[in-house]
Amino acid sequence: MAENATVWEVFIQSKNGLAHKHAGNVHADDKVMALENARELYTRRNEGSCIWVVKSEYIISSETEDSEAFFDPSNDKMYRHPTFYTMPEGSKHI
């Protein structure tokens, strides 16, 4: 039996000006085929204005199990949020 084709992750921009969002993946042997397969599989109902495909092997992911430690540095920095600050009574447009 033939070995698996390469797996590509698919990112779709739904409208001009918006960010590309992960939609899923496709199997394909080269990049043109990957784009065409992604179009057939993920945009049959006008879901996209642009598609990115990238080989799955190039995606690096953080570990869900370590997420607490990994994201810990941002936990105690509430001063990064605007609600942290006390504004003088009656101040406007700020």
Partner: protein, 307 residues
Amino acid sequence: MNEIKFQERIDAEKKIEPKDWMPDAYRKHLIRQISQHAHSEIIGMQPEGNWITRAPSLRAKMILLAKVQDEAGHGLYLYSACETLGISREELVKQLHDGKAKYSSIFNYPTLSWADMGAVGWLVDGAAIVNQVSLQRTSYGPYSRGMVKICKEESFHQRQGYEIMAEMAKGTPEQKAMAQDALNRFWWPSIMMFGPQDSDSPRTGNAMKWKIKRQTNDDLRQDFINKTVGQAELIGLTIPDTDLKWNAERGSYDFGEMDWDEFWSVVNGNGPCNKQRLAHHKKAHDEGKWVRDAAKAHAKKQEVVAN
């Protein structure tokens, strides 16, 4: 320890992702269920593909083509989800060909008339939707996301089927008889799509505990029957079950005994079309080999040019 933590995450309604630790039996259960689901989408293209060249109008033909193409897409979403559990697409297809993996028995029944396209869309897709809506809340992330996508696309399938039935039911007496005949043949296999009764479903316990399934076979079946009876009445067709009647106390329809001997006989390979469905899949797969080989050779050639 791992197992306790895992169950805590499940109980807290957290999704399990591919790289997370999971019990072996959870992984195995998912591979079996998702691959069976994927194979059903793919094999399910055959009974409908059977009518593409004979659709009664251009409109009907275009719709049927789009529907069959959707089924292919749904199969691919599901294979993708299944592959995240560490099994390859090739292995999945091999298990189907070897008879190790099953697909929904409903597709082992023949589609004899155009009205069957109505019955399949209305009842078979209708039953699948009830199941898939429930599975949107399954605990395995990739499976859940696949279900969300599928549910979005699937409702047109059921509506186009019901439209066919409604039109035939108000057509000539012969057309109405065809619609009724299709309903007669597809009703019982459709409600058996939800699987054995809970009392005979040994795997339901774990599947519910792990929140792979969110409702039992019997609950889903009842939900489908409650939804469908009124639809049949509205278009003047009769569900072929003399025991079917509203039970005000339960707020549900009571219904007759299902023929589980027939169900298991079809599951075990003795339905009207089991051999034909599998043989056709193998043939298409084998005959497509040169295309896969050519795509690989072409990709290789481009790499050489690029370097």
